[in-house]
């Protein structure tokens, strides 16, 4: 247990930041001591990311007011390079990787050569990157190109990238948002070791159990101000939620029971999905069905092919097999067909395949949904605007106006925009890939309620979520995916997180045995 009364290693005083009119931070004091993991909590748009971006030089000195101290001496970072060379490491919230370079090069990006002077030793880079991944308990080939990784794997690459700089202060902005249990555990093991080495860490998350698991102190931001600082002794999920939102939550997951005997809205038979860029990923011989009003979850480890199944159904990647919607066989060759059949998809990586940064918030919601908002091909401005405002209100999107730029929205708000887009067409089947990624606890609750409401209206939901608790709490039925196949299925109250892990492990053991037989 670090001594939080000792002199802080890294501190910020009276930080205020204004984005042309939007006051993101209003005089925040914050500090972290060596060997401490300090949670930074708050609702979407509270200013968490903005604060760590300031502490890391992404928002350079001069663009904010207030002071930063490192080792008790005032510092101001002109750029991330500055912060980095002073021992500050940073894992950003959004995926920021170099897609055209290899994993190893990504991990060591921006560092000087290993060994003789300015020369790069690919081999050595690969070995060292491999060692770090082994440490993190994950299996990513250092020679693979990042373009071929799943978003969770990309996130792990970013974490490795921050760790190799051997920082004294490490800031992690929602590092686990797309990770599942096993990876989170491995990450925590690493963080604990760093902690023992005296690294000071700032940890942003919306997953409150994680705070209970590894944080020593928590600071809650609300509307750009520190709402409360909580010592470990007083940690309690309810307190966190109350101090973040001013509301008390009764139950995290709303009551829901799948209607008995409801007609099937989505039926998938023998679906085989080609992986992105050839053979690396994929899913084979998938059979599943979702009844009207049913919430079905796809559980599995990272890279298991859950997203790929959704993409196959939605026509985003080539797939063979049969898809039926409300009993009708539909031929889905592209997302267009899927939408026509009443299927909507919420994608996983909002930056890469979710948002249109060239269009404002409002147009991002209505894109693809303009038909009912137009007459003779002309968009009816008034109607569009009112339906945007309705959608924004329904999901509590915190943008200043429908004309606001998407780039300026906080991560959680961006997620809500995409939600609004997917819901606008009243789909029969909703495919959701990590629907609450980066969404704060209160809103998450709202989203759960919303999903249950949709289910009650007869929509069939198929959800991929890495947070098993969420999946198990929400879903009527869970399918376990391992290595591109469905290996297990269980209903509400038939199992929990351990059941998923057990079936995954069993599937892997089986595969290894089979592989051993082939090579023998």
């Amino acid at each position: 247990m670090p001594n939080t009364t000792q002199a802080p290693l890294f501190s910020a005083t009276a930080i205020a930041k204004n984005f042309g009119g939007v006051q993101a931070l209003r005089g925040v004091d914050f500090d972290v001591v060596a060997g401490e993991i300090h949670a930074l909590l708050g609702q979407n748009g509270a200013g968490k990311s903005t604060l760590v971006k300031i502490l890391n030089g992404v928002h350079p000195a001069g663009s904010y007011t207030g002071t930063i101290q490192l080792d008790g001496r005032p510092f101001s970072f002109a750029s991330p390079a500055d912060a980095r060379s002073n021992g500050v490491g940073y894992v950003p919230q959004e995926i920021e990787v170099l897609e055209q370079l290899s994993v190893a090069e990504n991990v060591f990006a921006g560092r000087t050569g290993l060994g003789a002077g300015m020369l790069v030793h690919q081999r050595k880079l690969e070995q060292r990157a491999g060692a770090i991944f082994a440490d993190l308990g994950i299996d990513i080939n250092p020679r693979a190109y990042v373009a071929s990784l799943t978003s969770a794997q990309r996130h792990l690459v970013m974490i490795a990238r921050a760790i190799v700089t051997k920082p004294r202060v490490l800031m992690l902005d929602e590092p686990t948002a797309s990770l599942s249990g096993t990876e989170v555990d491995a990450l925590f093991a690493v963080l604990r070791r760093l902690k023992a080495q005296g690294v000071a860490m700032i940890y942003i998350t919306h997953r409150l159990p994680e705070v209970l698991a590894i944080c020593d102190r928590a600071t809650v931001l609300r509307d750009g101000q520190v709402a409360v600082r909580i010592a470990r002794e007083n940690f309690n999920a309810e307190t966190f939620i109350f101090s973040m939102s001013g509301q008390r939550l009764q139950r995290l997951f709303p009551e829901h029971a799948a209607p008995v005997g409801a007609p099937t809205v989505l039926e998938v038979r023998h679906l085989t999905v080609a992986g992105h860029s050839g053979a690396v990923h994929g899913a084979r011989d998938i059979n599943l069905c979702v009844a009207a009003g049913e919430i079905v979850g796809l559980a599995g480890l990272l890279g298991s092919g859950r997203s790929e199944i959704l993409h196959g159904i939605y026509g985003r990647v080539a797939a063979e097999g049969e898809v039926r919607v409300t009993g009708q066989t539909v031929s889905i060759k592209s997302p267009r067909d899927a939408r026509a059949a009443g299927i909507a998809l919420l994608t996983e990586d909002r930056k890469r395949d979710g948002l249109l940064f060239n269009l404002p918030v409002g147009a991002n919601i209505t894109i693809g949904n303009l038909a009912p908002l137009s007459r003779h091909g002309m968009v009816r401005g008034g109607l569009e605007r009112s339906s945007i405002l309705t959608a924004m209100r329904a999901l509590n999107v915190k943008a200043s106006s429908p004309q606001a730029a998407v780039t300026h929205q906080s991560g959680g708000n961006q997620q809500k925009l995409l939600f609004a887009r997917a819901l606008m067409r009243a789909p029969k089947v909703l495919l959701l890939d990590e629907p609450t990624k980066g969404v704060d606890a209160a809103t998450r609750h709202e989203i759960y309620r919303l999903l249950v409401e949709l289910a009650e209206k007869g929509v069939g939901l198929l959800i991929v979520a890495s947070e098993l608790e969420e999946l198990i709490g929400l879903c009527d039925r869970c399918l376990v995916v391992a290595d591109g196949r469905i290996v297990d299925e269980f209903g509400r109250s038939e199992g929990g997180e351990d059941r998923v892990l057990r079936s995954v492990t069993a599937a892997q053991a089986e595969r290894h045995a089979a592989a051993a037989q082939v090579s023998a």
Binding site: P335, R336, G354, I367, G377, L389
Partner: protein, 336 residues
């Protein structure tokens, strides 16, 4: 209470005027319009003849040619691609139309349709190859620039097609009003129509989505390939029309019609705020950008700048106009 709802009803307070002013400055085309207004005032102060009817007419006339192409290029840039073959397509379409009317002795209308057909066909080809085969537009349309130039020589044997049927000279010589003819009329109508389509229709919105992020557009059900291919066809057909208007204006199917236009057109629309990276810009902006470049070129002659310095000045002003626009965005829109 939701913050989005707050803004939907802007506060009617004292700052309202300031807000409205900033709102005006934030409009995309204002940057280049301001730059142009400044330049016009400058030229006019130094030499009032700059705003003489004759000069205005000459500028508007030449703008109508490249302007027609700029409309297409803007649409294509919004859809996230661009076309270097426009000049070459303009030239080829003109000589093909001319040959159809003269050597093949077909009616003028057939010749014109043939010319437009050639342009649209090349646009289709460019589009198919870029979209379906994944060849970068730069390479495909640069290749097409060469191919078009070669075909111009093949079609004409290197000799301008001259004389042309009287009907063509009549089209070129018609004075509809203020000494401006059909090319200007077409240009204005096409510009207004295209601006409207991009701004107000579903088609236009989908075009912006396609250019902004193709993958996202695809996922929301937009047939991005169709949008891109159609944008290529549009720019091809408009280039053809521009080429034929030049031919009618000059009364000769010259082999060098359109040569060198590829960069001028792109430069003009980019000066007018159209993004090279897709998904941003308006037809109004693109057209004003082209107009500004032509105003500069003409103004420098009118005020009697030494001819060697004219090109230098054009280069500098082009960069400065874009710079002004960037400053405007940075300080007014961010600050709004």
């Amino acid at each position: 209470m939701n913050s989005a709802a707050e803004v939907s009803a802007p506060p009617r307070d004292a700052r309202s005027f300031r807000r409205r002013l900033i709102g005006l400055i934030a409009v995309g085309e204002v940057g280049v319009l301001a730059a142009m207004a400044l330049l016009i005032a400058f030229f006019w102060l130094l030499e009032p003849a700059f705003l003489s009817e004759r000069n205005i007419r000459a500028i508007l006339n030449v703008v109508s040619f490249v302007g027609i192409i700029a409309i297409g290029q803007t649409i294509l840039l919004v859809a996230g691609e661009f076309d270097l073959s426009v000049g070459s397509v303009a030239g080829l379409s003109a000589v093909v139309a001319a040959k159809l009317m003269t050597a093949a002795a077909l009616p003028v209308s057939v010749g014109i349709l043939g010319g437009i057909g050639v342009g649209a066909l090349i646009g289709l080809l460019n589009g198919l190859i870029v979209v379906r085969l994944g060849i970068p537009a730069f390479i495909q349309t640069l290749g097409m620039l060469f191919i078009g130039q070669g075909l111009i020589q093949v079609v004409t044997g290197g000799y301008p097609v001259y004389p042309l049927p009287e009907a063509i000279n009549t089209i070129g010589g018609t004075d509809l009003a203020f000494g401006l003819g059909w090319s200007f009329a077409f240009f204005i109508v096409a510009a207004i129509a295209a601006d409207f389509v991009l701004r107000r229709t579903v088609l236009g919105r989908n075009m912006y989505a396609t250019g902004g992020n193709k993958e996202v557009a695809h996922l929301v059900g937009i047939n991005t390939s169709a949008y891109k291919i159609n944008a290529f066809i549009t720019v091809g057909a408009l280039s053809a029309i521009a080429g034929m208007f030049v031919m009618a204006d000059l009364g000769s199917g010259g082999t060098s019609i359109g040569s060198g236009w590829e960069l001028t057109v792109i430069a003009g629309v980019v000066v007018g705020g159209v993004s090279l990276f897709g998904g941003a810009g308006t037809v109004a902006g693109g057209v004003v950008g082209i107009l500004m470049l032509k105003v500069v070129q003409s103004g420098l002659v009118v005020i009697g700048v030494n001819s060697n310095w004219q090109q230098i000045a054009v280069g500098v002003i082009m960069v400065m106009a874009v710079g002004l626009d960037i400053v405007r965005r940075r300080y007014f829109i961010a600050g709004a």
